[in-house]
Amino acid sequence: MAFHKVNVTINGEMEQVVVPSNMTLMRMLREILAFTGTKNGCSAGECGACTVLLNGEPVNSCMVLAVECDGTEIITVEGLAGDKQLDPIQEAMIQEGGVQCGFCTPGILISSYALLKRNPNPSEDEIREALVGNLCRCTGYVRIIESVKEAAKRS
């Protein structure tokens, strides 16, 4: 199996990695680059825990080949906060209790962040529709919705 050189910008930093054809973006992030904030919950595009931004759009990183990401920009949960300042969606998730076990949280944050970028004042229905691909087994989602509403107010 051939290996491919991939140049990517991750959270603003240039990285060059060599990956086999069958490596997913999720595994490249977690195993080569140690961005373990991106979680592996199913490897099948079903749970959303591995959601990252690829050129500004959320994707299930388990459903994207690393080799396809040559020349792209990726943002993971580690890249949401500024130097000292958390992003409003992170702040809101802490304050509103949107986090319990936290395993779905990175994916939820990325999906919510992307939603607020494309729609700064989402309705509750729009929030639900944007997050349907992110499963959570702990919270019952109620406080996640509240967190996104609160983040919209803050940003």
């Binding site: 904030g37 949960v77 986090v99 019952g140 996640i144």
Partner: protein, 747 residues
Amino acid sequence: MSLTRSTLWVGQSLPRVDAPGKVTGETQYSGDLSMPGMLQMKILFAGRPHARVVKIDTTQAEAAPGVVAIFTAKDVPVNEYGLQWNDQPVLCGRGQGEKGSRVAPDVVRFIGDQVAIVVAETEKAAAHARDLIHVEYEELPAVFDPLAAMQPGAPLVHPELGDTNICVHDRLRKGDVEAGFAKAEVIVESEYFTPVQEHAYLQPEAGLAYIDEEGRVTIKAGGQWTHTDRAQIAHALGVSDEEVRVIYPAIGGAFGGREDMSVQIVLALAAWRLDQLGVRRPVKIVWSRKESIIGHCKRHPMRLRAKWGASKDGKLVAAETEIIADGGAYMYTSNKVLGNTTITSTGPYFIPNLKTDVYGVYTNNIPSAAFRGFGAPQALFMAEMQMDKLAEKLGLDTVEMRRRNALRDGDTLGVGTPVPGPVSILHCIEAAAQHAGWEKEPDGWRNVKRENVQPANLKRGRGFACGFKNVGFSFGYKENSWARVELHGDEEIEGVVAAHAGAEVGQGTHTVMVQMVAEAVGVPLEKVTLMTSDSAGMGNPGSASASRMTLMAGNALKGAAEAALAKWEAEERPAIAEYTYRAPETTPFDKESGYSTPNFAYAYVAQAVELEVDTETGFIKILRVVSADDVGQAINPALVEGQIEGGVVQAQGYALMENFITRDGYVLTDQLSTYLIPTILDIPDAVDSVIVEVPSPIGPWGARGLGELPFLPLAAAIAAAVHDATGVWFDELPLTPERVLRGLGKI
């Protein structure tokens, strides 16, 4: 009712202490861990429901590139384990491990039994080599239906344990049921079926094992009880507890599913055996979702038969119940789960005459064990449905029916002894009913119907149900929890270091612990440092289960804090105190009658549901859930609400959607695309949490327990609302659209 607010930190909705790490991606779960020189492991699962391992040939696999070692039964010193009974082999096969073992170690009893482990340089190499292990099996006749498994002549899952597959039989005998039924105005007889439920925590099992600086086999893998994980690992390795160390990284949900072993023993075995071979390298494993689904226990499916009678004035007079639960291939915690099913099968009601038989049966299915509610949700589905049907026959409102029968202080439970008070089910009933729109009239509670302005195919209904459950461990277990508190400083207390090994599985217990320590010592929150989740250097915390952690850890930390403060007063610097809280004693069931004092504390809940049934598609939409939970004292109300919302949605999945399908012991729903859990679009339009606070005399600041409560009555409340909407009783869960339409006679 509430405590007078003289508290500093107890009762405040503070943000979680672990949230910052979780929102930045810094928090490490077991699958995120790595160490220099780390090897990777894969497990060979048997993949068949019942077979004898005749021969294992690892020659080809050992020669595969990247393989470091392969271990099988012959490498396991004591090849048996189990939380309650040691009835499961660590690795199926013949070896040295028969020593003292009660069960045949070479028999595979469900598809997820483990046969071999492969340690290699990479995960891929390990998986490749695993596929090159040749195992010769002798297939054995298998049994999958618990009713068939109870029959004489059925294939035996554990022939060495006796000539029956019945592994649990609990009985309650109280009063005289025949005499009771003779006084009944109405009698309801029904048969109910409740399904398997998969925990589906978002984080699949994973772990890392290594030999620590003191030579201990150290396992970092999420669990619910550090010290029993350690004990089970040590038993299988044939070493002392002190030679094993269990550390919990962040844990991605548990709900009971991590109480039993998954990857821990084999990980420890690998690191320990490698070390003996001169390879001191850490070993890591991460399960796929499919491995998780076949590899860990499930909620017990049950068949529940009930005959209940009530007098003209709506008082329960007698109940006769038979419950059969599929325990799966091994005991796990079935005996305790079913004990709890037995106790809760009366509902939170006083019933003078009782005859109850609860059976647990071995089959070749995936083992059943702990899952939020621990046997109570199934029993309460039955009990609450019986209440509704009796109320309907009597023409009584469902809330009024419950009010008339609710347990009161001093009432005896089915086990023949008084329920420890104060009993607060009436508070919960009234709170939930009022909030949900019932009205109290001179002759009792009444469900005030609203206009149904929906299209003809959308039928609205309201349902109500109650639940209760023990807090803390039962049946004579010496329930205890250890803590240490250190007070540092000179003139003033400058820092507090508290230690408690209790598991944070997402419920927020570490946050609550910090609040309780700050409260007990009387310092600002920032001064408290909490050390957690390590079996080394900490005493037994007890399990993060049975809704017990707030009560048990709270009492332990409070006791340690008080003792440390006394030393501080005596000028000790630092002032350090350890304290083990011991709960009031309990006793096991009498074998014949069930007579016992099984629990030292209970918590109560009542819920109301409003929903809409689409009679053209069978879909049920939940409009509103009101959940009134008596937590004694909410240490952190925001976390309480989070638990209620999460519990309600998990129970909604159980009631409506989660359909775990197996065929001959094989799982057909082994992914999240086939086993569906609720998404954000499936949840109720509103979940209203009503926090009831009737203080427990033994709880820290009056706290009872919470985690399981919101799960308990929801399925019954939903089924009652569906009946209210359609006039049809549904006695089998889940209420999938297809089942609903069939029940409505539409297909």
